[in-house]
C-alpha cells in the first residue's frame, strides 16, 4: 500500500478516495501506533495506578496502601538510597563515557578500535555478572585487589569494600557508562569541524574549544545518557540483590521484591512505585528546561568536514584513562569470571591442575535447559529490538514533526516505562495480560511485549536524538516535489538514520539479552532466558557453572553483534571510522 501510493493517487476518482487522500494515509498508521502504545504502556501502568488505590480484596477505593508503603522508616530510607544510587551512577557513568566518546570521535587517540571493542564488552556484561566479578575483586576480606594491596603495603586489611553504596555505584556505572558513550559519540560523529575551526581561528585552544563548543553542541545526547543511566540504576534488581543485601541496605527494587513475597501485596507495591513515576516526569521536564529552545541541529545535509584533533602527548593520557575505565569494567571482572568458568574449584585459585572443561559439559549436556535458554534469549532479544525500534522511530517522528496534537504525551509515554522498575512493569504486564482473555502467561509473547515496553525508552531516546539532528527541510523537499510523507521517510530519513538505527538496534538488543528485573516475573518454565537462569544459579554458590554461562552469553552476544556489523557494513554503532 505504501509503495505505490504515488501511482494510486493519480488514478483515484471517487469522492471517498479523495477524502482519504486528504487525510494523509500515514495518519492512520499513527493511530495504530497510538493504540499500540496504549496497549504496551498505558494499560499496564494505569492498572498499577488504579490498583495502588484499591483495597486488596474488595477493590474499593483506599489510601491505605500509601500509608503502609510509606509508613515505615526503612521503606523511606530505601527510596533515598535509590536516589543516591541513581545520581551517583549517572555522574560516574558520565565521567567514564563522555571523555572516551570524545577521544574516539574527535581526537587522534591511539587504539580506538580496541577501546571501542572494550566499551562494547562492558555493555554486553550484565550488571549482576559484573557484580560477581567485583565481589571477587573487592570483597573486603578476600578481594584480589585488597589482597594485592595488603601484600604491597603490609596493611592489616584491604582498602576496597564492594559491599557499600560506593561499591554498588561503581559496579552499576561500569556496566552502564556505554549508554552515555554511545549517545555522546553518535552525536559527536555528526558534528562537523566548522564550528571548532571558528573557535580555533578566534584563538581558543583545544580544551576550551571542546568544553565551550563541541560538548555543548551534543548536550542533548549527554543529558539523554545521564537520564538513561540514572533510570537504569534505580530500576536494576540483580546487582543490588547481590551487593546491597549483604551490605545490609535496601534500594527501591529490593524493597519492592518484599511486597511480592507471601502474602503478595501488589497494591502496596504499586503505591510504593508511584514516586518513581513522578521522578521520571520531573527528569524529562528538567531536560526540556535545560535544552530549552536552543538549536542543536548540526546535520543539515549541506556537507561539512570533520577532522580529528591532534592531541600531541596528551593522546597517551587519554588512552591511559580509557584503559583504566576498561580495566574497571571489563579486564578485571572478566579475568576472575573466566578463572571461575574453567576452574574445578574456583575457591582454590589459579593452578593448572585446577583447570577443567567439565563445567561447560555440565552446562551444555547435563543441564538440559541451558541450550534452550540461550536460544530463547537471543531470539526474544532480536525480536524485541526490531519491535522497539520500529515503534519508537515512528513515534519519535510524530513527536518531532508534530503530526498530531499532544505529541509530547506520546514522548512521555515512550520513556515512562524505564523508570517503572522492571519488577513493577512486569507485574503490571502480568496483571494486564497473563490471565484470560489474552492468557499470555508462560508464553514468549508476554516476554517480548514486556521487553519491548521496557526498552522503548532507549529505542525512543536514540531515535529522537537522531531525528532531532536532521533538518526537516530535506523531507520538505520531497514533499514539495509531490512525494508522500512515507516516501520521504523511506527514501530520505531512513537512509540518513541508518547508522543511528543500527546503533539503536544494538542498544536494545544487548540490554534485552541481559534483562533480569522484568524477565524474572514474566518467564514461564519453557521461556527462561539466560539472565533468569544466571540469577537462579547465583543463589547456588556454583560459580564455576555461572562463570560458564556468563562467558557463553558474552561470547555469543559479541559474535551476533559482530556478524551484525559485517552485514550492516560500516554503518554500526561501534564501527571504525575510515
Amino acid at each position: 500500500m505504501t509503495d505505490n501510493s504515488l501511482d494510486v493517487r493519480t488514478v483515484q476518482f471517487s469522492a471517498l478516495a479523495s477524502r482519504v487522500k486528504r487525510l494523509d494515509a500515514s495518519f492512520l498508521l499513527w493511530l495504530v501506533l497510538i493504540a499500540l502504545l496504549a496497549f504496551l504502556i498505558l494499560n499496564p501502568i494505569l492498572r498499577l495506578i488504579i490498583s495502588s488505590l484499591q483495597e486488596t480484596d474488595t477493590g474499593r477505593f483506599t489510601l491505605a496502601n500509601y500509608r503502609t508503603a510509606y509508613g515505615n522508616v526503612r521503606h523511606l530510607q530505601s527510596l533515598l538510597n535509590s536516589l543516591e544510587l541513581g545520581v551517583g551512577v549517572a555522574l560516574l557513568a558520565t565521567c567514564f563515557g563522555v571523555p572516551i566518546a570524545w577521544a574516539i570521535s574527535r581526537t587522534d587517540m591511539p587504539g580506538k578500535a580496541f577501546i571501542r571493542l572494550m566499551v562494547f564488552a562492558a555493555f554486553v556484561t550484565p550488571p549482576y555478572l559484573g557484580a560477581i566479578g567485583w565481589i571477587l575483586l573487592a570483597g573486603p576480606n578476600s578481594g584480589w585487589l585488597n589482597k594485592i594491596w595488603m601484600a604491597l603495603t603490609g596493611a592489616g586489611h584491604g582498602i576496597f569494600n564492594i559491599y557499600s553504596m560506593t561499591g554498588l555505584i561503581l559496579v552499576i556505572a561500569v556496566t552502564s557508562f556505554p549508554y552515555t558513550f554511545v549517545f555522546t559519540s553518535s552525536a559527536l560523529d555528526l558534528v562537523s569541524s566548522e564550528m571548532e575551526d571558528a573557535a580555533n581561528i578566534l584563538g581558543a585552544r583545544t580544551l576550551r574549544t571542546t568544553l565551550r563548543i563541541t560538548l555543548p553542541l551534543v548536550t542533548p545526547a549527554i543529558i539523554g545518557g545521564v537520564i538513561i543511566s540514572f533510570l537504569e540504576a534505580i530500576a536494576l534488581f540483580g546487582a543490588p540483590a547481590l551487593i546491597a543485601l549483604p551490605a545490609r541496605f535496601n534500594v527501591v527494587s529490593t524493597q519492592l521484591w518484599q511486597f511480592f513475597e507471601y502474602p503478595v501485596r501488589v497494591e502496596e507495591a504499586a503505591a510504593y512505585a508511584m514516586p518513581l513515576l513522578a521522578i521520571t516526569v520531573l527528569m524529562f521536564w528538567l531536560q526540556r528546561r535545560i535544552l530549552g529552545r536552543r538549536g542543536y541541529t548540526s546535520v543539515t545535509g549541506k556537507g561539512g568536514e570533520r577532522r580529528m584533533i591532534a592531541l600531541g602527548p596528551w593522546r597517551w593520557v587519554m588512552l591511559a584513562y580509557a584503559l583504566l575505565v576498561c580495566a574497571l569494567s571489563v579486564f578485571l571482572p572478566m579475568l576472575v569470571l573466566v578463572q571461575a568458568a574453567f576452574a574445578k574449584a574456583w575457591g582454590r585459585g589459579f593452578s593448572f591442575d585446577n583447570l577443567t572443561l567439565h563445567n561447560f559439559y555440565y552446562l551444555l549436556v547435563e543441564q538440559t535447559q541451558a541450550k534452550q535458554t540461550i536460544l530463547n534469549t537471543f531470539v526474544y532479544s532480536a525480536v524485541t529490538a526490531f519491535a522497539a525500534i520500529s515503534l519508537s522511530l515512528a513515534i519519535a517522528y510524530v513527536v518531532n514533526r508534530k503530526l498530531v496534537p499532544w505529541s509530547n504525551v506520546l514522548a512521555f509515554l515512550c520513556v515512562a516505562p524505564f523508570v517503572v522498575p522492571g519488577i513493577v512493569l512486569a507485574i503490571g504486564f502480568y496483571a494486564a495480560y497473563a490471565p484470560p482473555p489474552l492468557a499470555l502467561y508462560g508464553t514468549a509473547t508476554i516476554l517480548i511485549l514486556g521487553f519491548t515496553t521496557r526498552f522503548l525508552p532507549i529505542a525512543y531516546t536514540s531515535s529522537a536524538a537522531g531525528l532531532r539532528s536532521i533538518n526537516p527541510e530535506m523531507e520538505e523537499a520531497v514533499r514539495i516535489l509531490g512525494g508522500s510523507r512515507l516516501l520521504a521517510i523511506r527514501k530520505v530519513l531512513i537512509p540518513l538514520l541508518k547508522k543511528s538505527l543500527a546503533g539503536a538496534w544494538i542498544l536494545v538488543f544487548i540490554p534485552a539479552t541481559r534483562e533480569l528485573s522484568s524477565a524474572i516475573f514474566l518467564v514461564g518454565p519453557n521461556t527462561r532466558v539466560i539472565s533468569v537462569m544466571l540469577f537462579d544459579l547465583s543463589e547456588e554458590g556454583n560459580f564455576e557453572v555461572r562463570g560458564d554461562l556468563g562467558v557463553s552469553l558474552l561470547i555469543s552476544t559479541v559474535a551476533i553483534a559482530g556478524i551484525g556489523s559485517k552485514i550492516i557494513g560500516r554503518d554500526f554503532m561501534l564501527r571504525s571510522k575510515s
Binding site: L245, F249, A345, G347, Y362, P525, G541, N542, E544, V545
Partner: protein, 355 residues
C-alpha cells in the same frame, strides 16, 4: 495423537539404538516396572511426555541429576527442573494460580508452611503414592489427607573455610557464632528467600529466643539470599564461617576440592523436612504422580545421598564423609510452628538485620 507419539518415540529410540547408546536405556525399565507404575508411565506418555518441576530442595546440580535419572528410567519423558529458593518458587506458584495458568506440575518446597497454605486454598491435588508407606518413619504422614509428602531432607550446621580457620578454632555450637572474633566473618542466607534459612532461624529462635539474632547482628554478618550463598562466601574466602551452613551443598563443594569443612553443632543440627505436592489443574497430572513415586523411591534417595543429603528410604545409607541425621543430635520445629513462625521470623529478621 497417540499413534504419532508412539511412532516418533519408536523412531527416536531406534535412532538411539543405532547410535549404540540407547540399548541400555531402553531395556532397563520394562521388566522391573510394577503394574501401577506402568499404568502411570503409559498415562504420562499420553500427556505429552513432559514435566515441569519447581524445586527448592537442592542445588541445581542435584535437581538436574534427579531429572536425568527419571528420564533414563522412563524414556520419552522430559523433566524441566527449575531450581530456585523456596520463596521464589512460591511466588511463581501464587502468580500462576492468580492468572489461572498453572505451569508447574510438581512443587518441591523447603518451607512446609507453603504446602499447608496451598492445601488450605485447595491448590493441591490429592494423590497418595505407593511409595509413601515405604519411607523412613520420621518422614511419614505429614499430611494424612494426602496432599503433600516429604520427599527430601537436609541438615544445616556450621561451615568454615579451612584455609582461614583451624579445626580447633572453629565454632562447636550455635552460641559460638556470637564470639566477637567472628566479627565481619560470618555468612548467612535470608529467610525472605530461602526456606532452609527460614526454618533454621525459627529453630534457633525456639532454642535461644530472638536475642540470639540480635547478638548475631552485632557480629556484622554477610546476609545473602539462598542458604547456598553461604558456601559461595566461604569459597571466595570472603567469610570464614557459614552461620547457616547447608550440609549437602557444602560437602559437595568439598568434593570438588574447595577448602571447606562442616561442623555439626553440639547443641543440635537443624533438620529440614521438605515436602512435594502436585498442583491442582496442572498440565501433566499423571507424569507428576509418576515423578512423585520416583522422588520417594530408593533410586532417588541414592541420588540424594550421592549429593550429601539425607536418605528418606531405609534401604539407602549415608554417603562417605557425611553424617546421617540418625547419628546426630537433631533439632527441628513442628509443622504448626513453621506455618505460623516463618512469616514472623522474616519480619523480625528485617528489623534486626535491616534487609
Amino acid at each position: 495423537m497417540f499413534p504419532i507419539r508412539r511412532r516418533s518415540f519408536i523412531i527416536g529410540s531406534s535412532a538411539c539404538l543405532v547410535l549404540g547408546s540407547g540399548s541400555k536405556v531402553l531395556a532397563q525399565p520394562a521388566p522391573s516396572m510394577r503394574p501401577h507404575e506402568k499404568e502411570l508411565y503409559e498415562a504420562a506418555r499420553k500427556e505429552g511426555g513432559e514435566l515441569t518441576w519447581y524445586t527448592a530442595q537442592s542445588d541445581d546440580i542435584t535437581a538436574q541429576a534427579l531429572g536425568r535419572s527419571f528420564e533414563s528410567i522412563y524414556p520419552g519423558i522430559k523433566v524441566n527442573a527449575l531450581r530456585t529458593t523456596a520463596q521464589v518458587a512460591y511466588q511463581r506458584i501464587t502468580q500462576e494460580i492468580k492468572a489461572s495458568a498453572i505451569q508447574c506440575d510438581l512443587l518441591s518446597t523447603t518451607d512446609i508452611g507453603h504446602s499447608v497454605a496451598l492445601k488450605a486454598n485447595g491448590a493441591l491435588e490429592k494423590y497418595v503414592p505407593d511409595n509413601a508407606s515405604k519411607v523412613l518413619d520420621v518422614y511419614k504422614n505429614y499430611d494424612p489427607d494426602g496432599h503433600y509428602f516429604v520427599t527430601s531432607a537436609g541438615m544445616i550446621g556450621i561451615g568454615y573455610n579451612t584455609a582461614k580457620v583451624k579445626e580447633a578454632d572453629a565454632p562447636k555450637n550455635w552460641a559460638d557464632l556470637l564470639d566477637p572474633k567472628w566479627n565481619n566473618n560470618i555468612a548467612l542466607g535470608h529467610p525472605g528467600f530461602s526456606g532452609y534459612v527460614g526454618t533454621w532461624a525459627l529453630t534457633l529462635r525456639n532454642q535461644y529466643g530472638w536475642e540470639f539474632f540480635e547478638k548475631l547482628a552485632k557480629n556484622n554478618p554477610r546476609v545473602g539470599r539462598s542458604i547456598n550463598d553461604t558456601v559461595t562466601m566461604l569459597n571466595a574466602g570472603e567469610s570464614a564461617i557459614a552461620g547457616s551452613g547447608p550440609v549437602g551443598t557444602l560437602l559437595e563443594s568439598v568434593q570438588k576440592g574447595n577448602p571447606l569443612a562442616m561442623v555439626y553443632p553440639t547443641d543440635g543440627t537443624v533438620l529440614i523436612i521438605a515436602p512435594s505436592s502436585i498442583m491442582k489443574g496442572c498440565k501433566h497430572p499423571n507424569t507428576a504422580r509418576l515423578f512423585m513415586e520416583f522422588l520417594l523411591s530408593e533410586g532417588a534417595s541414592k541420588i540424594w545421598v550421592d549429593h550429601f543429603n539425607e536418605t528418606i528410604r531405609p534401604e539407602v545409607s549415608a554417603s562417605k564423609g557425611a553424617k546421617s541425621a540418625k547419628d546426630l543430635k537433631i533439632i527441628r520445629p513442628t509443622v504448626e510452628q513453621i506455618t505460623k513462625g516463618i512469616p514472623e521470623v522474616i519480619k523480625q529478621w528485617r528489623e534486626t538485620f535491616g534487609v
